[in-house]
Symmetry: C2
Subunit: 675 residues, 2 copies
């Protein structure tokens, strides 16, 4: 057990080393571009670049801590399951998750707080507006690195998974985790890399972006309208209270007794929601901020819970009353592979509807609540309400991440136990813990997507606010203007392009790894005989460098398209572009996450003991369900969960390049129309 | 040959009879609702309802003519291929297509022209604005019936296809078109119903909507700014000139010599484009309308051609230079079924990018051209430019439909020849003609989608124009307002919902037909022995009524959601709702059409003689390619091509209920905020 775990740890470190080296180069290049483009901002130009580097570094640390904790906790959880049973195993796994979740909260609060103090008090800027551009630099750094962690990790894990399955299971007919397979370690590393590092960096960057957007809007209110009430500081305070609620609740989750792991996690979620609600209400009251703002934050948090519940209905076997998509998909699988694919596609699309409606209702609700704030115009207050709802949604992310990281930890522990031929009861313990982890994962993804939607809306408004503060022009994005609508159409293509390129990237990369595995088997027949260890590192290195190579074009195109749209079509079309990206991005993300989850669970039902394995067509039905799962894998682990980070990157690109875009657009406009 | 053809004709008539009966009831109900809701408009309220009924009827006639021509032409084309060879067969098939295409043009021009004369000259209205609401009624009728024809036909054809394949090919191992299969006739009817009736009604309704939108904008210009220049009449004139160009070009296509059918069709397309460009330039010159408007119309037409070419690159085996998606998909099929599905999905998504960019460029270009019109504000002129581009895109639809209808005619002729055991050369003639038909079909779908995008943008503007004319309020749809953005998100869900429900509908309906086929085989074993004819009509009736039953909820939800969004969130959010629907609708439509086409063609390559049938894994590769085709079938024949009609229905719903929505929203707003 220790040996395999050590290999996985080594592999994961090897991935991190290669990825972070490339990311450091990328970050350096972007930092230089940022510094050059912003030279006309004076000292702030350099500060933006530095802040970007710090943000990138913070995101890398957040991911690394997660990986460190998770890869170590695997073995301990496995050992606890083998010796102590369910309760100690649960405690070890959940505690490891909590360490990660709370570290991430801490880094976000620390980074933003220190940078703020630095440029507001230590080296006050000539133009205080530039303070926000500097903080946006931090957030931009966090998000770009997070995109690489999430999508790069997703390509990595699915590359290894697909290649290991195709050469191992199909061609050589050896078991899934067989150590003779050169891709076996890469596959195990991928589970950690994709889920833990990706999720950690992802929630980290959303959190930073949501706090920042609300702070920009709040500061503008403070500056112009209500200087006595600290609207600008409330977002940071909200996040701090959320972290506090998470810490308290995590303590109670730890004391769970008996066998009900799912109940323990749910209790944690409910408890943190309640504690947060009480704290935020108290805080606003004490600060003299109208109570409706606290209500907006709570509404945001509730929206996150609703999205999680919907994801669960569409992807788990239980469903809701007589509406049980996974059951229908099972019937479809019994008809043919094509009908299974089609019904997963259809239910995946339909699953986006209640979640997006929930987001829309949260947006409208928090807008109306914010509009009730006395002394502010309805629009100013309303938009601030939406921004606070986004912060509220993510406030208890410490606990959410704890439950999420818990999933892959248990999953890996199960793999270790299996490879170490531990007793059957230990595997059973892990299986029971694992089932709970899957539900937690679905809920976290819902949180992440909901948060990104509200955050991007808030970033919109922050972007417009900064534009107004800088140039005095009020941005009105009139969709009835065909040029602006064209901007919306172009923006809508970005998540589509990103999805298409990353999924093709997985395939291309898997092709390379398949060639490498075949080469090793051919060159050294002792590997298959079990007498010689395969070269695991080659596979890890192919997966790593391939993941980044396949991801780079999609990322660079996304950033350049954003800047170009702004420069050529103007700030209004750029805002519509961001809106278009949110619309397709949200729907694609929910569709792919849930379709992938539903196919996965359909396969699990077919493989479960409750299903009739002796029926005449079982083999075909099982093969169909495996096909569904393979199609769904890159949906739910590569493209789907990356999209919310992509949306943050797009919005932050627009915001950080705002001064440049505005200047360049004026120049283009002058050339075109007033030569 | 004559016998089978007669059965198909009878089956098609049976479908039409049942469908049109249900549609008549539906139209009557909607007409009553329209009359009731609009009673406060006085006499115009009733006129809107009547106009709606006329529009529905006209759309039914357009579809019926197509069906009549196509089912008769099948047999004649087959006979011509068997006796005269390629040239006469091509001439018969193309001439039949032309009859259909030009009839459709004629009905549109006649209907709009007569209604206009009726309410403008014969019974002039007290409020001339209501004239437009009445004409919108005609367009709304045309579009709702077209939606049923397109999507209902799509569900019909794929229901029959899937059921016939699963029971026939898989369970009983009889050939695809075997007359012993009770679903055989339904399958053949489906080819006509889905492609010919659907396409006819679809292009008909887009054409009417685009002319109308441009006419509303033009009339507003005439009324307020430039009464000497007939901007309001130009759209009808543009469409007339387009039809004229189509007639002239069709004449030249007929005189083609030699064996190059593809060249003949392309010559027709190019010729009609050139003739139209000359005519429209001349006409604007003579009418004193600035030449830039003619340029906008030509730009629209060119955009349609570009989208068609892009579809062809992504779906045909040829590709573009070294970019050959179908080749990559073939390699993916050689790896596994899952990789084939994933690569079709990815390339389908990527195929939306150049087309949507083309549409965006056409929008921006025609806006800028229109903005140059002297005497108009840039926005007024620009939006009119976009509307005229939409009319221009569809102007030569007479010829486009001719080429499109030609495809299924040849396809069916091939089926007839095969069933009648005609000589191999005749089959070869049809195969060669069929390959050309597939390309033509891809191009037509591109035209239809491009037209719908531009038309909906124009309908937007017409909607805002009518709102302004009615209530004096200028609609500015500011995306930065979260309530309006929420409207956009809700609208974006409509095509997603429609796609999910129709594809699930195909599966559910196929399930019923499978049960019926099994029942017939079990009850009467003489059917399988070939000694007794199966009950074809039962299958046709299941497919027909099921198609409408599965479609009705999606259609009703779409209409009600549109009205509710307007009533609850207001006209601005409603406009954003339409914008959101266009964004996801366009992308989904292009994605599904092209992914489906690419899977279909991958299968064709695998089955072609050029592919190595003797390689060891051929059977698996062939099965993968069949799976891809089955998944793609409802993409490209059910959901994909229905979406552009859906978008027209949404926009027209908003426009026709505009007075009601505005009044009800005021009422809701008063209750909520000023009790």
């Amino acid at each position: 057990m220790r040996e395999v775990s050590a290999l996985v740890q080594k592999g994961a470190r090897s991935f991190i080393r290669i990825q972070y080296r490339i990311l450091a180069v990328f970050a350096a290049v972007v930092a230089i571009i940022l510094a050059l483009v912003n030279t006309f901002l004076g000292e702030a130009g350099l500060a933006i670049a530095i802040s970007f580097v710090i943000g990138s570094f913070a995101s890398m640390v957040a991911g690394y801590v997660g990986l460190l904790v998770a890869t170590r906790a695997n073995r301990r959880t496995a050992a606890a399951a083998a010796t102590g049973g369910l309760e100690p195993a649960f405690r070890v796994a959940f505690r490891a998750g909590s360490v990660m979740g709370l570290t991430i909260s801490g880094i976000a609060l620390l980074g933003l707080g220190l940078l703020y103090l630095m440029w507001d008090y230590v080296f006050p800027l000539a133009n205080p507006l530039q303070l926000w551009e500097i903080l946006v630099g931090f957030s931009f750094g966090a998000s770009t690195v997070s995109l690489f962690a999430r999508a790069g990790g997703g390509i990595f894990t699915k590359t290894a998974d697909m290649a290991a399955d195709i050469v191992g299971k199909v061609e050589q007919r050896i078991a899934e985790d067989d150590p003779r397979n050169p891709a076996a370690v890469a596959d195990a590393v991928g589970d950690n890399v994709g889920d833990v590092v990706g999720c950690g960096a992802d929630i980290f960057d959303s959190n930073v972006a949501s706090i920042l957007a609300a702070a920009i809007l709040g500061a503008a209110i403070d500056a112009s309208i209500a200087p006595t009430v600290p609207y600008g500081l409330l977002p940071l305070l909200t996040a701090t209270l959320g972290t506090l609620s998470s810490v308290i609740s995590a303590f109670f989750v730890r004391t769970t007794r008996g066998r009900d792991a799912s109940g323990a996690l749910n209790r944690g979620t409910y408890l943190s929601t309640i504690i947060f609600s009480v704290l935020i209400t108290l805080a606003t009251f004490l600060l003299g901020i109208p109570i409706v703002i606290a209500a907006a934050a709570i509404l945001g948090l509730l929206a996150g819970v609703v999205i999680g519940v919907v994801s669960n209905i569409f992807t788990s076997d239980t469903g809701f009353l007589s509406f049980r998509p996974v059951r229908s998909m099972l019937h479809a699988a019994e008809t043919s592979s094509a009908t299974l694919i089609l019904s997963g596609y259809s239910y995946g699309l339909l699953s986006a509807i209640p979640s997006v409606l929930g987001i829309a209702i949260a947006m409208i609700g928090s807008f109306l609540l914010g509009a009730l704030v006395p002394g502010l115009t309805p629009t100013t207050g309303g938009v601030y309400g939406v921004a606070i709802a986004a912060v509220g949604l993510l406030a208890t992310h410490g606990l959410v991440v704890s439950s999420d990281a818990y999933g892959p930890i248990v999953d890996n522990a199960r793999g270790l136990i299996e490879q170490a031929h531990a007793p059957k009861e230990a595997i059973d313990v892990c299986d029971r813990l694992d089932a709970v982890g899957n539900t937690a994962k679905a809920i976290t993804k819902g949180f992440a997507i909901g948060a990104s939607a509200l955050t991007v809306i808030a970033l919109f408004a922050a972007f417009a606010q900064l534009a107004k503060s800088y140039f005095g022009t009020i941005i009105v994005v009139d969709l009835l203007n065909p040029v602006i609508m064209a901007g919306g159409l172009i923006g809508a293509l970005i998540p589509v392009m990103f999805t298409g390129l990353t999924i093709l990237g997985v395939q291309r990369n898997a092709g390379k790894m398949i060639a490498e595995i075949r080469r090793q088997f051919k060159k050294n027949p002792r590997i298959l005989a079990g007498k010689s260890l395969p070269d695991y590192d080659r596979c890890i290195s192919i997966a790593t460098s391939g993941a980044i190579r396949e991801l780079m074009p999609a990322t660079v195109i996304s950033i350049i398209a954003t800047v170009l749209t702004g420069v050529i079509l103007g700030l209004q079309a750029l805002t519509a572009y961001l809106g278009g990206a949110v619309v397709t991005g949200l729907i694609l993300a929910l569709f792919m996450d849930n379709a992938g989850g539903a196919w996965d669970n359909t396969k699990k039902v077919v493989e479960s003991l409750a299903y009739d394995h002796k029926q005449p067509r079982y083999r075909e039905i099982h093969e169909s369900s495996i096909l569904g799962d393979m199609v769904g894998d890159p949906f739910k682990d590569t493209a789907g969960p990356s999209i919310n980070t992509l949306l943050a990157v797009l919005s932050l690109t627009a915001t950080i390049f705002l001064p440049f875009i505005a200047a360049a657009n004026l120049w283009v406009y002058t050339i075109l129309f007033h030569p």
